[in-house]
Symmetry: C2
Subunit: 372 residues, 2 copies
Amino acid sequence: MRPTLDKKPELDTPCLVLDLDILEHSIRKMQATATKAGKSLRPHAKTHKCSALARMQLEAGATGVCAAKLSEAEALVKAGIEDVLITGPVVTPRKLERLVGLVSRSASLKVVLDHAGNAASLDQKLGESGLSMGVYLDVDVGLHRSGAKPSAAVALADKIATCPNLRLVGVQAYAGQVQHIRSYAERRERSLHCLEDAVAVFREVRSRVPACTTLSTSGTGTFDIDLEIAEVSELQVGSYVLMDTEYLDIGSALHSSHFLAFEPALRMLTTVISANHENHVTVDAGLKSIYRDGGMPRVAGPALSPLEYDWFGDEYGMISAKDGSPLPAPGAVLELLVSHCDPTVNLFDAYHLTRGDAVVGSWPIDLRGCSQ
Amino acid sequence: MRPTLDKKPELDTPCLVLDLDILEHSIRKMQATATKAGKSLRPHAKTHKCSALARMQLEAGATGVCAAKLSEAEALVKAGIEDVLITGPVVTPRKLERLVGLVSRSASLKVVLDHAGNAASLDQKLGESGLSMGVYLDVDVGLHRSGAKPSAAVALADKIATCPNLRLVGVQAYAGQVQHIRSYAERRERSLHCLEDAVAVFREVRSRVPACTTLSTSGTGTFDIDLEIAEVSELQVGSYVLMDTEYLDIGSALHSSHFLAFEPALRMLTTVISANHENHVTVDAGLKSIYRDGGMPRVAGPALSPLEYDWFGDEYGMISAKDGSPLPAPGAVLELLVSHCDPTVNLFDAYHLTRGDAVVGSWPIDLRGCSQ
């Protein structure tokens, strides 16, 4: 952390700022929730794309971290973070070579498997290098994106168990389709219901493969629900650490005390660059700075800001004011809550770190662009 | 350009590939169209974010290039490309300092102005460094994003003309609101109509400031329309060089021979990473690799591919097949046309360059992330 003399409103924009006080509080809060419930925490680095932030989560007590892609895991291992679970299948011969190369640098690297042919290819590549690795059986609990069908999962576990260079240590079940359901009651009912399949698979696999002791699941939308399940041992939460308007809106609908505890640590600063109209001004953050997906960015500040953001092309945004409130002047800097944190973070190379209005350092977003 | 032995389907995915044969043809075609009409070409680097590609456009005859943001201009000047027009206002004291710093490295750098206070601030900063620079008066022709209102534009030109360190050399008028209108007849009528205001301002300003000889306008959607206007001297086209499904769909609706001449030079490669379902497979390009904005990515290849892409989260896409056609197997590589080229390019660090199936080199996307 490099100390600087900048004040937040003096930063060049658009830029991302992380409020360290909120961030540290959110990390402690989620870790304490998991620990109290007897669960391990394996936060998803796909959200923040930052090894320095992952290290802060590990220092607070996380078991390891998740990465969505091999290249994210490569960046994490390069930064010295070794206990990484890659949560999507790695399938091509070249990618498998990269994966085995990474195992040689991190003995605790793990990857998910959802296909017998993929298991056999990985086992063979590992054997050629005299290596072995831990794997999680990926079970599809209704998202239908990756994962073996529950009906085929035990047979796949048996197949993996025959591979001499694969150690089956866990079952992964991610219910992405329920994370953003607005009604807490419905979200709870659907999450618990779809994880029943995963629990059944996990019990059966554990009875056949005693080393398979981890059931890894959940997300920011359901962590406080899924920890009710005795078999769940590891929570894969991501967005809680930064937050965005999509999850904040669910929080508001829910009035869950767990959920509302996560304040948005991530903010976007943007500057008014044109003001020639009575009813709006133009700011310098558009869809190349705030990923346009789902929700709308929101002007932060006083609880009910009269200012509203709207999209205005690749490089610009439009700010209008409700109720005849005054518009900000050219050069004024506004603070926005972003609509979807994960892909927005992926547009920037660094976070500026703040405490109150003071800029106290920066962190590289060293997993930025790691889509492979 | 670094020669390699890779074949296109062997590249790690997701990745961007540029078909050099199509790219070179598109660059020649647009330049010939402008030259034949007696217009200068100033392609927008915000589309491709690549100084090597900008250099190819300059070598084909372009006068200079456009940049949307100061940081893009900084990257272009660093790469040795000096005649850059920054097409949005630069307003804060720190950004103005960066701008003046850049003028000291590029005498032909230009910026737009739409506000008297901004003109005065820039003039003062330049004077403090003993520098001067060329500026374009930005006129709003209906997009209402930046630009002085036509009714206020001549007074602003007079104000700029009194600034000793500013040389008013052009008028900019960008009609972004008409570029994607599907009907050619309606697009033509609306583009010509809204540019009437710009022509009137330009004539008046030119009569008062004889050095102001450039009227700069247009985009890929209207270049073949706007070159009918005698006063228009410079075309700011961007997307033609890469193309995307948004512009291809307009092309199809239009049946304009000019427009259809631009084939998509940009492609995205993606790999099937999970295949446990009868009616779809999962690929490794999601909304962190293809910007989700407007149109839908399309599977390239045979003219009417039976395969269809759909969004499947931050890291994944879903491929389904029409008419019972077979689905691709795990590990298969597909080629996609992206939905919106500009922000998608901004997600990657390099283009792979191809001729047919051969990978012949790569170019860094050196303006990637330059949103400031």
